[in-house]
């Protein structure tokens, strides 16, 4: 029972990381129609910047610096390179963003080496939270709470602001938004920066829990794509539902039958793709891209 509770808590933490990355992927796809294989790179850059800043000034400044730096990088990347690929087919977008992901990964390897880096044992990370027989690291609970708060803020942004309105309308019918005079271009820069900042922040916040290596970005990106597909490309709640589902599935399988832990999420995605290609909460309109 204790083991199961801990597995469920682990699944929640892992799932929330997936949700955060997937939300970025999904709003970027929804607004920009861009399939971004470089999104995992934002997570990795955030993780490394976070580590460097945390070693100097502590975890708090790291959580501010990482998302800002990543958002800046994303905006430059978008302006210099990706904008030309918005109107191209998904295959070209996958190719160019895959190439960018390779370049970022290898640049990180060049700067920080191939070795897996661990966080220094900060006092904030040592505290545990006990409830009856269940003992769980306090930082993980705090992390989960922080991600939930962040997701609520993102949701409020999407639901309550004019930019959010354009984003949501863009998911449904991009051409109509443009015809009605919605400024998708301005919204798209903000959305791209926002998606990247979320990934960067989560990268910095999650790396005391998970270790950091140059390949970490891609390692988180692939399951996050699984999440997006399971939940429905372009759907915020789809990303939330899919992320929690995949995180818990992976975590509980690790407890019950470890060899299948990595297979089960891909199996889940394959089943969803074949039975309901638009995803659990997706709009059927986007599947033929």
């Amino acid at each position: 029972m204790v083991a199961l509770t801990q597995a469920l808590l682990n699944g929640l933490v892992l799932g929330l990381i997936y949700v955060a990355i997937a939300v970025g992927l999904t709003i970027v796809f929804g607004t920009l129609r861009l399939v971004n294989f470089a999104h995992g790179a934002f997570y990795a850059i955030g993780a490394y910047i976070g580590l460097v800043v945390a070693q100097q000034w502590g975890l708090g400044p790291a959580l501010v610096a990482a998302p800002l730096a990543v958002a800046l990088f994303a905006v430059i990347l978008d302006r210099v390179l990706l904008r030309a690929f918005y109107s191209k087919d998904a295959t070209s977008q996958i190719l160019v963003t895959f190439g960018i992901a390779l370049i970022v990964e290898e640049t990180l390897r060049l700067i920080f080496g191939s070795t897996t880096l661990q966080y220094p044992p900060l006092p904030a990370l040592a505290t545990s939270f006990a409830m009856g027989p269940i003992v769980y690291p306090a930082y993980r609970l705090l992390f989960a709470l922080g991600v939930v708060v962040m997701l609520v803020l993102v949701w409020l942004f999407l639901e309550k602001t004019d930019y959010g309105l354009i984003v949501r309308a863009g998911v449904r019918d991009r051409t109509m938004v443009q015809l009605l005079g919605g400024n998708i271009k301005a919204a798209s820069t903000i959305v791209f920066a926002l998606g990247a900042a979320i990934a960067g922040l989560v990268g910095a916040a999650a790396s005391p829990i998970y270790s950091i290596a140059p390949g970490t970005g891609f390692a988180f990106l692939v399951p996050s794509f699984v999440v997006v597909v399971v939940g429905g490309l372009g759907s915020f709640w789809g990303a939330v539902l899919g992320g929690l589902l995949i995180g818990e599935l992976q975590s509980v399988t690790t407890l019950v039958f470890p060899p299948a832990a990595n297979v089960v999420i891909y199996l889940c995605m394959a089943v969803v793709l074949l039975l309901r290609p638009q995803g659990l909460l997706g709009e059927s309109e986007v599947i033929r891209q």
Partner: protein, 343 residues
């Protein structure tokens, strides 16, 4: 001379000269064999991407799958009489069956969904291979399996045998080349001729028509998913064939051969060389593998260079190296024809 015959003769000539010219630029004969083998996989990959527009992110499942099946056939089924034909044929057949199974599900999807479904299957196969310790040796991969012999008539040939010694100055020595190169070159030649014929056949034309306008092709009466499935199966078969050859040539099958980076390498090879061209995947494979062999020992940021080359090609040469050259040649010819007409 017919274009087909000229193509065959030029390809054969290129294959005969390749290892010697290659020696002169610091390439070694072993790499020449590996490039030919990997090119077969890239040709298979390009058949899918170039002629159906479907980007597979899981071709390592066929490549690595072919390698593991070939090795397992030698280890488990015929350790006493390791027969190269049977190992290669068995592995290719297994890859074809796998491609038919995955393809039956995947060919109804497009774009990102197709890429992710193939990726999902490849990841499943990767983890199954990694976890099946007893059979596959897990992360360590398979090594030291029986060296397969190539029975031809009454003879049993060891492809590891070098050719007779004959110094060739700057072009190395004839004995640098093993019979493996000749065997790989013959298979490569057969694949080139076959794929050329295939893409010029009605089958190839229908595939192109479906890629360009699926709705119209369907209305004319072509079963688009069936055509795509056939292309996927042939693509998987060629990639599996390459995986089996590479395993037998190297004498080992690493776990990476079913990994995600291997799938990505076929994407890089093909895009750099040029999709929808016959020689593009070959040139891309040769160039990247050559640079890797020359640079990866000296520079620890070789993979960064590879990524930069890949992105630069996508931005500046979207048709790839061979595709760009082809387009230039076509432009020249059109200009020439126009000026002749003007006179």
């Amino acid at each position: 001379m017919s274009p087909g015959l000229r193509f065959a003769l030029l390809t054969a000539l290129g294959l005969a000269l390749f290892p010697f010219a290659f020696h002169a630029i610091d390439g070694y004969a072993g790499l020449a064999t590996q490039i030919l083998i990997m090119s077969i996989a890239s040709i298979g990959f390009n058949l899918l991407l170039g002629y159906t527009g479907l980007l597979s992110y899981g071709h390592a499942m066929f490549y690595g799958g072919g390698g593991y099946v070939a090795a397992l056939l030698l280890i488990r089924v015929m350790p006493q009489h390791p027969n190269l034909w049977l190992a290669v044929l068995g592995a290719t057949l297994a890859a074809t069956v796998l491609a038919l199974l995955v393809g039956a599900l995947a060919v109804r999807l497009y774009g990102i969904y197709f890429a992710l479904l193939t990726l999902a299957f490849a990841q499943m196969i990767f983890f199954v291979v990694e976890q099946s310790q007893d059979w596959t040796n897990g992360d360590d991969g398979l090594q030291n399996f029986p060296a397969a012999m190539l029975p031809i008539g009454p003879y049993s040939i060891d492809l590891g045998t070098p050719l007779p010694a004959l110094p060739l100055g700057p072009f190395g020595n004839l004995s640098d080349i093993k019979l493996w190169y000749i065997f790989a070159a013959l298979v490569f030649f057969g694949v080139m001729i076959g794929v050329r014929a295939l893409t010029r056949s009605q089958f190839g034309e229908v595939l192109t028509a479906i890629r360009e306008n699926e709705e119209r092709s369907t209305l004319i009466g072509f079963n688009a998913p069936a055509y795509r499935l056939a292309a996927f199966a042939i693509s998987g078969a060629l990639t599996g064939l390459a995986g089996a050859l590479r395993a037998l040539y190297d004498g080992s099958v690493p776990i990476d051969s079913v990994g995600i980076e291997r799938s990505g390498s076929f994407v890089i090879f093909t895009i750099v060389g040029g999709v929808q061209t016959l020689f593009g995947p070959v040139v891309g494979t040769g160039l990247i593998m050559y640079l890797e062999a020359v640079l990866s020992g000296k520079l620890d940021y070789w993979r960064l260079i590879e990524g930069v080359i890949f992105v630069a090609v996508i931005i500046f040469l979207p048709a790839g190296i061979v595709g760009t050259i082809n387009n230039r040649v076509k432009e020249r010819r059109a200009l020439l024809a126009a000026s002749v007409r003007a006179k």
